[in-house]
Amino acid sequence: MALLSIDNLSIRFGGVQALSDIALEVQSQQIVTIIGPNGSGKTTLFNCISAVYRPQLGRILFYGEDLLSLATHRVAQRGVARTFQNLRLFMHMTVLDNLLLGRHIKFNKNPWHAVFRLRKEEIKHRRVVEELIDFLQLEAYRKTRVSDCPYGVQKIAELGRALALEPKLLMLDEPFSGLTAEEKHEVAYLIHEIRGRFKPAILLVEHDLRLASTLADTMVALVSGKKVAMGSPPAVLNAPEVVSAYIGGA
């Protein structure tokens, strides 16, 4: 059974058909990258999977369960985590607290422990988060407020927050955008490492076709909300619809 299987997914905003009849499967531990010009519906697809948007048609099965029937916060509990195209960090919290919030669903949440300062649970999750901080090399920023961190660090902190949830499916929306060439390489290497170490399936949206194709097992191309190609990276990059969308400036 596929980890994630999307069927017949369609969503429209007023007159804009943002996605039409999308079908997609992601196997566990697979990296699927989604490419497509601006406005082709990539972020909308992520928003449907994480239950921010409610599509008019279609099914999104995760381990066979329909995510569309769940409240937004329950999708996280099933093991889906994501980052955002325009960062959505908790700007006034430290990097450490952002990552700890990523552990929210793993906490044994007893309000009395909070009130009486019983900190066993906090220490347990702090250990897990410190390992992540090591892995992502965020030590220097541990207690820095996110709003005081450089953009590159913020991007990695957001990745860390998603990883803290121990996702089965990790969705990364343009993880390279806004980064310098050097930082891009670091993040590409990190994604590779994440796959080896935490073994999630990864859905990745990327503009940079070269980066997207080096990381992908499977590639999906969206144009104006329609899936125009899916398959191995070279096949997708050479598909006539993809070529015309990127070169023809559709």
Partner: protein, 326 residues
């Protein structure tokens, strides 16, 4: 040199020896206040301690969770009258006090429901409606409000050789200390993180698995509990209640305390409470000037130090920590 050897150590309430020393110093000084201060000063300190409780509660809701509420006076009214009626039914104050808190918390949950749909100014208006409705209901119901003479509440009687002024002081000081400790503990736990996450980015919080409805209602309940307990102490201290004690201007006093003290800061709540108690006292001969002073203070804070008194305090400490290397 600040060396941390374990995560448990990093999670202590007070980590540095120096902090422990001066905080203990302050607490001991406050505990001995009746020995060296005038009765009037002790009474003022009683009010500061009492207001600390409610402002702390308001701060959890507005400062930490970002749910702007104008319902403080309404919650105080519910809490004070709950305490008053319970006490008239013969419930001893040590029971009536938490009960008043719990009843107010229940109202907090109900008032919190609009927060599941409304944000910012819209939520503020909805909670304002609650405050006004409570006032109107009490003004128009002699059964609830105790009528023209107000509702008489039995005051604390002297105990263990302590005068009633000193006894009230110790009661309010002790309860304020408990609530302040609880607040420190809450904001540094998973609960506090969930609250701040909702304030900073509710969509991200929800996607990370935070159940927005649950935590919003919880923070409304907790903050109303604080307000209810403060109101119970208020009834116990004054010995009588009338609806006019709970008009919108009481809400404004709380908001001034929150903003001038500094939002999302436990120390800020204490400093803000002290501000709104001490300023009217200092200017007691010039009552008309107090609202203008409050307004000016809020504007100055918003313009020059959004962190409020707590922000000034933090900057001063940072300055001395790094002195003379600056």
């Amino acid at each position: 040199m600040d060396l941390i050897e374990s995560y448990a150590q990093d999670l202590q309430l007070m980590r540095k020896t120096w902090t422990k020393v001066w905080v203990m110093g302050v607490i001991v000084t406050l505990a001995m206040l009746p020995w060296f201060a005038s009765e009037h000063a002790v009474y003022l300190a009683t009010l500061v301690a009492m207001y600390t409780i409610g402002v702390q509660g308001q701060n959890l809701l507005i400062g930490y969770t970002g749910q702007i509420s104008f319902g403080q006076a309404g919650f105080l009214c519910v809490g004070a009258y709950s305490f008053g009626h319970l006490s008239r039914m013969g419930v001893p104050w040590p029971l009536a006090l938490p009960a008043a808190g719990l009843i107010t918390a229940l109202f907090g949950v109900v008032v919190g429901f609009p927060s599941l749909r409304l944000k910012g100014p819209y939520l503020a208006v909805a909670t304002l409606g609650f405050g006004i409705a409570v006032y109107q209901i009490f003004v128009n119901s002699t059964l609830l409000s105790g009528g023209r003479m107000g509702l008489a509440v039995t005051k604390l009687s002297p105990l263990w050789g302590l005068s009633s002024v000193n006894l009230s002081y110790y009661l309010n000081f002790g309860v304020a200390l408990l609530f302040t400790l609880a607040t420190y503990n809450i904001v540094s736990s998973y609960l506090g993180r969930a609250f701040v996450a909702i304030r900073d980015n509710d969509i991200a919080a929800e996607i990370m698995g935070v159940d927005l409805a649950r935590y919003k209602l919880l923070v409304f309940a907790v903050s109303s509990f604080y307000l209810g307990v403060q109101a119970g102490l208020y009834a116990l201290l004054l010995g009588y209640l009338e609806p006019n004690m709970f008009t919108f201007s009481e809400t404004i006093t709380f908001l001034v305390a929150g903003i001038v003290g500094g939002l999302a800061s436990v120390e800020g709540a204490m400093l803000g409470a002290a501000f709104v108690v001490v300023v009217p006292f200092v200017f007691s001969g010039l009552k008309q000037a107090v609202p203008a002073l409050f307004g000016t203070a809020v504007i100055l804070v918003l313009l020059f130090e959004p962190g409020g008194l707590a922000g000034c305090w933090a900057k001063t400490r940072a300055y001395f920590r790094q002195w003379p290397f600056r």
